[in-house]
Symmetry: C2
Subunit: 288 residues, 2 copies
């Protein structure tokens, strides 16, 4: 039987520490605030944002969600961001990706104030991330590394294969794994839609991370018994019992065939939220 | 016998095109200028800079080298950079790395104006590079991809193993290989000093790039006969006949055992210079 890496439990511990820090800030009259900027968000995104808002409130962070029309101009969106950059009660800003086609995504992300860039979205922070010097670490990759660390799974000198090169998970995780930080110094292979036969790479991984957004894509063909599997997928799936969340890994098929695995839900997802709350709290602490 | 990827020849062709473009700029009264900022440079670095200055002059670009004391303060260095950013006759700025310990390298590199950042050194341009959107592509990685392209060696879908994660070659090359650009879409593995047994990775590479700064490090144990080898090393080596330049690959040992290989000198080095001249010229053209 594989070890289940219990993100819900570890995240719970992290969130308890965050809640204490938020209390200490409250004694100084400071209430951390996090702004979500959602442009043309669909119902699934909004539902996800609502769950993040609830998580904020639980630890004493004030969330606000700016719902903006899909047809918004760059100028109007930049004006909204400048206001959030200036707002004293906003300590962190997250722009939901991807942005609609008429907007230059990189230009928009460049406008997030570096010290409010709690998900490491701006180009400058991304360029610094690779060398361990960004203002904050992006929530999902940081959550993955923190979960591994909690189970004393090191990455230094290991071969980590990352499926996916996206801006939110695959790419930044690869950067962090390559730094000289404590949870860095891994040998990293990044695979993606153009990699051809993925099993050529996944079968030789010490740690395999799936972040491709394809439900139950990773099956027995991809793995070996000494492997640690990390599932960063969040896919809505229609089942006979209604909508269900599933990861990029076929958990039922592989979960007893590897050394350790993160479940979905209850693995990377809660860790992402915990890291985000941690970053917002840190942003507020730095402002003192 | 392996195919020798003749960087000197390909770079010569590129430089001829650059020289024509510089002539056209001259007709409009514009002379491209490139500034090198060398802090506490040793004789080897200065010799390398002099060879780059000569290459500039040959195509009609005006080089200038700011030799600054190793003990310079961040404030003084930033002031120098601001002057170069403002100078109308300077179209490109290159800061020689690494900087001395008292300086925060990332803070200094952040001060290079984006449109003069012809070697893609600033954090923001580095963050954009990974998604194919930096102002310019860094000279050495661009030179490597351009040389492969000249010999119709594609990287899409190939497994490229990069030895080295440095800011000048290994890291930015990995980023470019992962973009969705024409010379991108590769599956990329980055190895480094903490990777343990490197041959575990190098032996399964379709294309192997050495950028670790260790003379003749890559030998027969690392390679296989269908491989393309790229040597980005520039190491000074003392031989019975005096100082000689050698790469990171033991050329004599492996050159007849692989499909293709870049020599040192005459491989990646000249391509780097050609790409730099190209970028400076482009910076001047964009200013029209």
């Amino acid at each position: 039987m594989s070890m289940i890496l219990d993100g819900k439990k570890v995240a719970g511990e992290k969130k308890a520490i965050v809640a204490e820090r938020v209390e200490k800030l409250a004694e100084k009259g400071i209430k951390p605030g996090l702004a979500f900027v959602a442009v043309g968000a669909d119902e699934a995104s909004l539902s996800y944002l609502r769950s993040q808002e609830r998580a904020c409130k639980k630890v004493g962070i004030t969330p606000q969600t700016l719902r903006l029309a899909e047809t918004i101009t760059a100028e109007d969106l930049l004006n909204q961001l400048f206001k959030l950059n200036e707002a004293d009660d906003v300590h962190g800003i997250i722009v939901t990706l991807p942005l609609p086609g008429q907007l230059n995504e990189e230009r928009i992300l460049s406008a997030i104030a570096p010290y409010k860039d709690v998900d490491c979205l701006s180009p400058a922070n991304r360029g610094l991330l690779a060398f361990g010097q960004s203002e904050f670490q992006p929530a999902t990759p940081a959550g993955i590394l923190s979960l591994l660390e909690a189970y004393e799974i090191t990455v230094s000198g290991k071969h980590v294969v990352v499926l996916g090169r996206g801006k939110a998970v695959g790419w930044p995780l690869a950067q962090m794994l390559l730094t000289k930080e404590k949870m860095g110094n891994a040998t990293v292979t990044v695979c993606h839609s153009r990699s051809g036969d993925l099993t050529r790479y996944t079968r030789i991984a010490d740690i395999l991370v799936a972040a491709i957004g394809r439900p139950k894509f990773v099956n027995s063909d991809f793995i070996h018994k000494d492997q640690v599997l990390v599932d960063a997928g969040i896919n809505g799936e229609e089942t006979p019992e209604g909508w269900k969340m599933s990861g990029d890994i076929d958990f039922n098929e592989v979960s007893d065939k590897v050394k350790a695995i993160t479940p979905v839900p209850g693995g990377v997802g809660p860790m992402t939220v915990a890291m985000l709350l941690n970053n917002v709290t840190e942003a507020a602490e730095r402002r003192i």
